[in-house]
């Protein structure tokens, strides 16, 4: 999933708000799980490390599933911006049905 950075995504310091990066990673993991597992899921837990500030450009989140259990899925997202890694997220999603 990608996101073109606009002014509404920035905090007062002029860099992309942490919540925006979180949303991008969370969404891409959710879609990755749905594309593989084909079941409804929801975020149970997520941890994100911010590696570099983003001031503009196109952010890209690449997700992959690390472990698929009966009720839980562990997945990872790597977020880059114009080729530079800017954040990494690790999430646990709960399968709903």
């Amino acid at each position: 999933m990608s996101l073109r950075v606009e002014e509404k995504h920035l905090n007062v310091a002029g860099v992309v708000h942490g919540g925006v990066t979180f949303a991008l990673a969370d969404s891409s993991i959710g879609y990755a799980i749905h594309s593989v597992v084909r079941r409804r899921s929801t975020t149970a837990e997520m941890k994100i490390n911010y590696l570099r500030p983003v001031v503009g450009g196109v952010m890209l989140s690449r997700s992959r599933i690390l472990r698929r259990g009966r009720t839980l899925v562990v997945a990872k997202a790597e977020v880059s911006c114009d080729g530079t890694m800017v954040a990494e997220a690790l999430a646990t999603f709960a399968l709903l049905d």
Partner: protein
């Protein structure tokens, strides 16, 4: 605030945050400082007025916050927690900061109601701050978040000191 809301506040039915200074009913809101950033304002996050010291924010969960299952999206809860912690650090440390690392556990789905986030600083050392945010909705704990923030030099304040005649 509607008349219904003011009745609730007077009768103090339930604690929303469950903290030491529990906030009851429908706490009054105040405008979020602009330093919170555009995403927080766009999401409709407000400050809870009259909570001193400390930072407590609130968000009325609406249809624009929901995911495809009808629950408030984890990103929205994260944004609320992140903003609360950032404002608490700004208030207590008087310097700019940025999120270095964050973890959130979503404990219960929230489909509607007032979500209240209370931020608390746990540790400050060597330019890093560890802080937590507890999110409650209608008295029930809905999420817990733990953050590491990096403190940043504040160019605005340095500039202000220089212009005020520092040597």
């Amino acid at each position: 605030m509607s008349s219904d809301d003011s009745r609730q506040t007077r009768s103090r039915p339930r604690s929303l945050t469950g903290g030491r200074e529990a906030i009851s009913g429908r706490p009054p809101s105040a405008k979020l400082p602009s330093i919170a950033g555009a995403p927080s304002e766009l999401a409709g996050i407000e400050r809870v007025a009259g909570v001193e010291p400390g930072t407590v924010l609130r968000l009325e969960a609406g249809s624009n916050h929901l995911d495809q299952h009808g629950a408030v999206d984890a990103s929205v809860l994260f944004l609320l927690a992140d903003t609360a912690v950032a404002l608490e650090i700004l208030r207590s440390q008087r310097t700019d900061c940025t999120t270095a690392e964050a973890k959130i556990n979503i404990l219960r789905p929230v489909s509607s109601g007032l979500v209240v986030a209370r931020a608390r600083i746990l540790h400050v050392k060597d330019g890093l701050v560890v802080a937590e945010a507890s999110l409650r909705c209608e008295g029930r704990r809905v999420a817990e978040a733990l953050f590491t923030y990096a403190l940043l030099p504040s160019p605005k304040r340095e500039g202000a000191a220089a212009s005020a005649g520092s040597p």
